[in-house]
């Protein structure tokens, strides 16, 4: 099961290396989004709370610009039928999910590093808490955006539809993650942030289960 899903990932990875479609647009998007924020802020010193929020604004829109690729590329080229003939739906979903998880981790690490370098008030006091919320937040982001990507790919991939559909689904995750980032910035202990962490972890579990249950309906047309 895992080796087959990994093969789907390998194929996507190889294809990404050849076409460099998602990587290029993601990288450019990160630069554009962060420089827009920097220009808007100017010489102003912005508060910790605002930095934490803006951090997730950039993450959300970057994810929306690149993560739909996983399914849209198959559907656009018509290769999804071939994939349906070679693998069961859960394997396809797992492969795409691995691809998106790795993509989200790369992109968010870059965003976090850029933030640490460019924003004075982005100083992490509780690193462990930041790390935990970063990991679980990324996984949740990847799961939800993968399943929504599958939906919009079948809906004909209208560009603006992706953020519109994803935002309500991602809202609970984003709200808790913003809160957790704030906690990590002002040095709250993990003990105090336990509730938000639990929310993010259970969001991941619930979304993963629902996605696997519903993916069959989306994938088979």
């Amino acid at each position: 099961m895992f080796s087959k899903a990994f093969a789907v990932f390998q194929k996507d990875f190889h294809s990404e290396i050849r076409t460099r479609y998602a990587i290029n647009s993601l990288a450019m998007f990160i630069i554009v989004a962060i420089s827009v924020i920097l220009f808007a802020v100017g010489q102003e010193k912005i508060s910790e709370a605002l930095t934490g929020g803006l951090f997730w604004v950039v993450i959300f829109f970057t994810a929306m610009s690149g993560l739909a690729r996983a399914f849209v590329s198959e559907e656009e080229r018509g290769t999804s039928l071939t994939l349906q003939l070679t693998a069961s739906p859960s394997i396809v979903f797992s492969g795409k999910l691995i691809f998106n998880v790795i993509l989200v981790f790369c992109m968010n690490t870059v965003i976090a590093l850029l933030y640490a370098a460019l924003f004075e008030s982005f100083i992490i006091q509780n690193f462990l808490l930041f790390f935990l919320s970063f990991v679980f937040g990324n996984i949740g982001l990847a799961i939800s955006s993968t399943i929504i990507a599958a939906i919009i790919a079948k809906a004909g991939a209208k560009g603006t539809l992706y953020p519109v559909l994803s935002f309500p689904i991602l809202l609970p995750l984003i709200l808790s993650s913003v809160q957790l980032t704030l906690f990590a910035l002002d040095g709250t202990t993990i003990e105090q942030a336990k509730f938000e962490l639990a929310i993010v972890v259970s969001y991941d579990v619930v979304m993963l289960t629902v996605s696997y249950l519903l993916f069959d309906f989306i994938w088979k047309d």
Binding site: I151, P168, I169, P172
Partner: protein
């Protein structure tokens, strides 16, 4: 037919009673409402605002139930039911948002202040909006039905998270919420029995109204659909 007349009388009574019954310091007769400190005349919105908010939730729930049923049975009638319920839910959701924020302008001093329930209804509006955006972008009927059913099920499971997160992130301002300093717990915040009676009559009346509107709405969708098919086939 008689139930439609009864419903008409019930809603007329609720509207008249809800607006016209006076609020006094010490209620003597059944048609007088008690004064709730901090709310005064503003309290009367409960008869109209709460039912619309309640119906937007019920409509969302029914829409999810029929989406689930569509995925199980693949019957387009179920999709018509889910869709028309979502349409009604959107209408009630807008009504609840508008009545609520007009009220909030007078009670809290601002139209919008990101109170947990304001945020939740905003999230619900977003979900409905996304659902209609998705539906309008798909041509083929079954694909539209399947994808919107899947989407509303996914959206449905995120709702509990809002309930848990909201109170932690923002302060509640609604009368009856945990942070509210003006009144006590939700239902018995100093309402007397006649006020409670009219409140529940209003809830019941609006709920029946919703189911009636829903039935008319989904039947018209189904008939229209079948009619179109017959016309095309000649």
């Amino acid at each position: 037919m008689p139930w439609k007349i009864i419903l008409f009388l019930l809603l007329s009574f609720v509207s008249i009673a809800g607006i016209a019954f006076p609020i006094v310091e010490n209620p003597q007769t059944w048609y007088e409402f008690p004064n709730i400190p901090g709310l005064e005349e503003n309290a009367k919105i409960i008869f109209f605002h709460v039912p619309t908010a309640w119906l937007s939730l019920i409509a969302f729930l029914m829409s999810t139930v029929f989406s689930f049923r569509y995925l199980k049975r693949k019957d387009l009638d179920d999709d018509a039911k889910a869709y028309s319920s979502a349409q009604l839910g959107m209408i009630f959701c807008i009504l609840a948002t508008v009545t609520g924020s007009v009220w909030a302008k007078f009670a809290w001093g601002a139209f919008w202040s990101w109170d947990p329930r304001q945020t939740s209804i905003f999230a619900l509006l977003l979900i409905y909006g996304a659902l209609f955006a998705l539906r309008s972008s798909i041509e083929s009927e079954e694909k539209r039905a399947t994808l919107s059913a899947v989407y509303s099920l996914i959206a449905f499971v995120t709702v509990p998270f809002f309930i848990f997160i909201m109170p932690r992130i923002m302060k509640g301002l609604h009368p009856g919420s945990a942070d509210d300093t003006n009144a006590g717990p939700v239902v018995n915040f100093n309402m007397n029995s006649s006020m409670l009676l009219i409140f529940f009559l209003s809830l019941i009346g609006f709920t029946i109204l919703y189911f009636w509107m829903w039935k008319v709405s989904y039947k018209s969708i189904i008939y229209q659909d079948k009619l179109n098919k017959n016309l095309i086939r000649g």
